[in-house]
Subunit: 468 residues, 2 copies
């Protein structure tokens, strides 16, 4: 591969010139106060805060381009910011630099109901879009746990509970507008549903976590709101039963929109926090979309499968208020889990394995948790083989933090050993950099060559994904 372009460090003088220029141009949309800076380095991550030198609130693609050109001229790092909900230190600024906050770019530019797509600015949240779409009968399905922006979701290749049916961000973006390291504005595609024209820059930018370009606008797919939706909840004697049920249901092509696994501890936490009285056993939460007749048929087929796998009693909810109560409990697992250790902090992590290995991976992880003495409830997008752990920890207890880090390392190696990935949907950021080489080998050199060719001075979100 090509040689690295030497990444020239920015000079202090260069940074202060850039900050003066931005302050002059953006007025009160420029901020260098400590609280604002810390808030923009801070994320939901447990990784220590490394704030940027200043924050500027951009309101258009053109402004982002101007800021990047200015920063590029002085080799000042640029870190894009959406909602601040990333989990692996993606927003930290280890070399300082300018954080470009895109959260004010909230225009929903076009909705094409006939084409089932829409064009949004990067700062639009999925909640905002779905509220906007309410009267059209359409919706956008990708739903990571937090309130998050389209720019952030695309940059980290996010997914959520609906991925088993509707796919991840990678499956739902038709094209992107992005600002590259030299300030060039590119559009990576058209509104055609598919294309065989040229390199797939859309997917290359998705998941690049702001290191190859800054996403400022997106064209995303939309879907018709299903005629009916049914939610089912089913406890299982064993994790294997829940996993085998999922495998069979997917093979039969049941139209599940969601299939979520909670372990016994997670169910206990939800019972306490959300005032449910579910049996404290491994449990599947499922949702079916389709016509009333089709969803009833699917629920019945699933009930038959569960009986052969030690599952039941099988309960289902058709009324919207009952469905919402159950999904609210699922979406509140973060707070429910925190409730298991009042006053403690939380380390959140995820891995993803082929579904045939999921029960084995979760069982080994449970044994590891028991040996380590952690409190760590588990929730998973079982249809994708993806699961999350929230490990309660006292961040002031260095020994304990080190033990949790070692546990996460073992978890990742376990998943990779089972032909899985170190992260299904949280991304690499700073937190999982050390695990990437085990997954890609010399593919890392290919990634690094691409990074160097598109960002030769390493100004775009430096210090993330891999070392250059």
């Amino acid at each position: 591969m090509t040689q690295a372009a030497p990444a020239a460090p920015m000079s202090e003088g260069g940074l202060s010139d850039v900050m003066s220029a931005l302050s002059g141009q953006f007025g009160d949309r420029f901020a260098a106060g400590e609280a604002m800076r810390e808030q923009h380095g801070h994320t939901l991550s447990w990784i220590p805060n490394e704030p940027p030198s200043a924050v500027v609130f951009a309101e258009s693609t053109q402004e982002v381009s101007e800021i990047v050109k200015l920063c590029a001229s002085q080799r000042v790092p640029v870190i894009p910011f959406g909602a601040g909900s990333s989990l692996e230190g993606q927003l930290n600024a280890p070399s300082g630099g300018i954080c470009i906050d895109l959260s004010r770019m909230t225009k929903i530019i076009e909705v094409h109901a006939d084409d089932l797509d829409c064009v949004v600015e990067a700062g639009v949240t999925r909640q905002q879009l779905n509220e906007h779409l309410r009267d059209t009968g359409l919706f956008f399905p990708v739903d990571p746990g937090a309130e998050s922006t389209f720019g952030g979701m695309a940059a980290t290749r996010a997914s959520g509970t609906n991925a088993v049916r509707y796919g991840t961000m990678a499956d739902n973006v038709l094209n992107l507008t992005a600002v590259m390291a030299n300030g060039d504005i590119i559009k990576t595609g058209t509104r055609a549903r598919k294309t065989a024209a040229g390199y797939d820059l859309t997917h290359l930018l998705m998941g690049s976590e702001g290191t190859l370009g800054i996403i400022t606008e997106l064209t995303t797919r939309l879907y018709g709101i299903p005629e009916s939706a049914v939610v089912a909840v089913c406890p299982f004697e064993t994790l294997e039963g829940a996993c085998n049920t999922t495998i069979t249901a997917i093979q039969l092509g049941l139209g599940m929109a969601r299939i979520e696994l909670l372990d016994a501890l997670q169910v206990k936490a939800c019972n306490q926090y959300s005032k449910l009285d579910l049996p404290e056993l491994p449990t599947l939460f499922l949702e079916f979309h389709g016509s009333p007749a089709a969803t009833r048929e699917q629920v019945e087929t699933l009930r038959e499968i569960t009986e052969g796998e030690g599952g039941g009693p099988f309960e289902w909810a058709e009324r919207e208020e009952d469905r919402n109560r159950l999904w609210k409990a699922r979406h509140d697992v973060y707070w429910a889990s925190r409730g298991l250790g009042p006053g403690l902090d939380a380390v959140i992590t995820d891995v993803c394995v082929p579904i045939s290995r999921l029960a084995e991976c979760v069982n080994e992880t449970h044994e590891d948790i028991a040996r380590s003495g952690f409190v760590a409830p588990l929730v998973g997008h079982v249809g994708d083989g993806n699961f999350h752990l929230l490990v309660l920890v006292d961040m002031k207890n260095v020994k304990q933090v080190n033990e949790v880090e070692a546990f996460v390392d073992r978890l990742v190696k376990r998943a990779q050993h089972m032909e899985g990935t170190c992260t299904g949907e949280h991304g690499i950021g700073q937190g999982k950099m050390k695990h990437l080489r085990a997954e890609y080998g010399s593919g890392i050199e290919v990634m690094a060559a691409i990074k160097r060719s598109l960002d030769p001075h390493n100004i775009l979100n430096p210090g993330k994904i891999f070392e250059l």
Copy 2:
């Protein structure tokens, strides 16, 4: 972006050294005879044949790596070859060089029924895989018209009639093994269903048409064979009626596996060739997958939609032999169309537009065809907004060939003007290079920078997609 690495032309001496070495190593798996060379430059394309200097039949990823290393040492071009079914001159060798024929890499390495995936070598065809899977209840859905290899389908981001439900190659590959320009072997991912780890090299290589790396192995998704399948055929008074029916059906989430549009001339050709007696009107061929109850419900819903759109009479076939007869007619459109002009050649092209613009794009194209005096039946994957034309032409009549080329240029500009793409599934190759800049603007510079960083001496399938 970075500067171009100068593409040093290969020397005649370098080429003959490489050919001697390959001949020594590969014996009768190396061929430099004229017929073999022409057959490997020749494709289904109407673009003039530019044969490679020699052909070598590789039987493993390791062998491909060795061949590429040898060629790289002398800067000899390398052109990967699968089934030879590409349509835009992807396999031509305008600078000579070594064609690596992967068609003997036909191992189906692993089938993971529980994970709904399998690992295949690049030379496996979809027909071979589906034959192999026959007893498992699983199948692979992507079905471009021709017999084609997995390596070729991935390299050109192919799709086919099932894409409306099952997606294109871009949606159905979990990871690739590829040989890069320096001979390095990389694996672009794991068997996890989704990942947020690092740059998406899988999608970058798909559609790169052998210009960034040579795909030698793939892990693809599989699907359960649906419990029942129903085929429906419905003529419409107007193209708009057929398109509006499709839009409504997709918005309602009907589980259509296929929805194909044939124009009146295409129906006439099929009637003649396949001994059908369909009304010679714009016609939809549809297929529904699901449980018997669900498919019947969907067919009924669709019938109601068609009535409001000037469609009917609506016929449907549930028996496998009736279904197969109709789909055989659809798959034989190439021969049916050729039958409209015995002795003539065929120029085949495709574009893809947002579905809301499809009727308009087809109508304008029909007017253009009428003005030009061409015979050019049309068939389209209407659910994706993608359509194909086969223009009958006498390739010895230079004036006529020029007129067809000008017609294709107008077609592409029309599609791009309607927010569409110059090719939905055939790729760029040589045939559509001139149209890429209109679609991507300065995105071309980004593509070129990536190409230069990964293939600094431009040995991988040079002269394709864009000029360096």
